[in-house]
């Protein structure tokens, strides 16, 4: 995609000079980022580089020390349902007595009125479950699902809120590699309707599917393209050893450009 094309599209997320501290420690600094409608941005970076914190700040779960975040052109105070979130699934207790259907309905919490979910809420839950191909398993307790199935349920739960932007945090970390390709295909399909931001430490897996890549290690290295220069990676990782094993980094990434590009 070229620069002209991007300027015609709407900016859905605009981050300026973001500074985030956790317990007095600077986790994100001088982060500037513009995400456009229907972008598919992959953010890579070392563990502890602030990837999850960036997502949580966009979601309003973490308060920024300085800087601004605009969502859909409006300064963010509280998440109004435009942004949804797919966490690393290890984040919750698998022995919790709850089934697929109930988990997906939780995506409708924000619009629920009265004590139970409305007919519309249930209709939306049915629709998103079919979308991720989990409708048949809707009565299954969450503890009896495989990693890939749980991940699909969590995507459905996020979709149930009818978001315009979907944030995913290491979504394939606990999925069997056989199912990863299928999962990324689902994301590509969703990307036709919404903006996706995907965080991962696994550069080789995500670089095939995303449209643009950024590297985050406290500061964000980003040039609105799918190519990361060796300098960006060097700064981002400060330890390019892992990547050298794949060859020269920017060539590895550039090689995919024609395949997925625009």
């Amino acid at each position: 995609m070229d620069r002209m094309d991007r300027e015609e599209r709407k900016k859905v997320i605009e981050i300026e000079n973001l500074l985030v501290k956790l317990d007095g420690r600077t986790v994100l600094e001088e982060v500037n980022l513009s995400v456009y409608e229907k972008d598919f941005l992959g953010i890579i970076g070392p563990n502890g580089g602030g990837k999850t914190t960036l997502l949580k700040t966009i979601l309003g779960l973490v308060t920024a020390e300085a800087g601004t975040i605009k969502i859909m052109g409006e300064k963010m105070k509280k998440n109004r349902g435009q942004v949804a979130y797919v966490p690393q699934y290890a984040a919750f207790d698998r022995s919790f007595p709850v089934n697929v259907w109930e988990v997906v309905l939780m995506g409708r919490l924000g619009s629920k009125r009265g004590r139970s979910y409305s007919e519309l809420d249930q209709e939306i839950a049915r629709e998103v479950l079919k979308r991720v191909e989990m409708y048949e398993l809707r009565h299954r307790p969450i503890g009896e699902l495989s990693g890939g199935e749980i991940q699909r349920v969590l995507v459905a739960r996020a979709l149930a809120g009818r978001p315009e932007i979907l944030l995913l945090d290491e979504p394939t970390a606990s999925i069997d590699s056989r199912f990863q390709a299928g999962f990324y295909e689902l994301l590509e399909e969703l990307n036709r309707e919404m903006t996706l931001i995907l965080v991962s430490h696994d550069i080789s897996a995500i670089s095939v599917y995303v449209k643009t890549l950024a590297c985050l290690n406290c500061k964000l290295y980003y040039q609105h393209s799918k190519e990361l220069s060796p300098e960006m990676i060097e700064k981002g990782y400060q330890c390019p050893v892992e990547l050298i094993a794949h060859g020269v980094p920017h060539r590895v990434l550039a090689a995919h450009d024609g395949v997925v590009g625009s």
């Binding site: 779960l61 349902g81 919750f92 089934n99 629920k112 004590r115 809120g161």
Partner: protein
Amino acid sequence: MELLQFDFLRHALAAGILASIACGVVGSYVVIKRIVFISGGISHTAYGGIGLGYFLGINPILGAVFFTVISALGMGVLAERTRQREDTLIGIIWAVGMALGVIFVKLSPGYTSDLMSYLFGNILAVPFQDLILISILDAIIVAVVWFYFEELKAVAFDEEFAQVAGISTRLFNLLLLLLIALTVVVMIRAVGIILVIALMSIPPAIAGQSSKSLKGMMVLAIILGIVFNSGGIFLSYFFDLPSGATIILLAAAGFIISTASRQRFG
């Protein structure tokens, strides 16, 4: 069933059923949310309220309501506002509540005869007046959970997501702490302050081993609670044993049997 002609036994069974309802409903949230020790802290502060009741010459149970509610709110707000570790706060609030109780009891005029029954429970001697009070508390607990069932479930399951989805997790966490405070008071007459923590966690823990839904877990926990309470009442009556301890040991036996059988067959 001639035994049921005795008022005290009928009161005891009623108190057992009321306690089981509160503990099945709220205890299920406590167990799945892993906040058993927060509940322990809140229940022990009730001793401060019991002491205050003696000191002021009012019903100690009313004092207990006051103290558990204050400590629940305090725990919720402190855990959020200060940077202290949560378990440290629980330990401090737990001990401060008991210490206040000890001082109040010492300062109270006259003879504090049934103090032990508040500590270890005496379900065979529940006054009718207290039965009315715990019925009201039970009704409040059930009504609140009936109305906010989905929100409380979502916050217990995945707090972060619930917040992203747009509900105030702070508010619902505080609401759950308040429900725990009321549940503690409902159970004091049956098993006493010190043993409350066991009755709040054992029936839901057993129920949770086989339940596939939170609603099912609550219903099963209530039934188990009624079985343990009623069984404990009759055992303690016939063998002249302390009722609170008998109920808890019966429940613990149930937990061991359930867990062991699941280990073997599950």
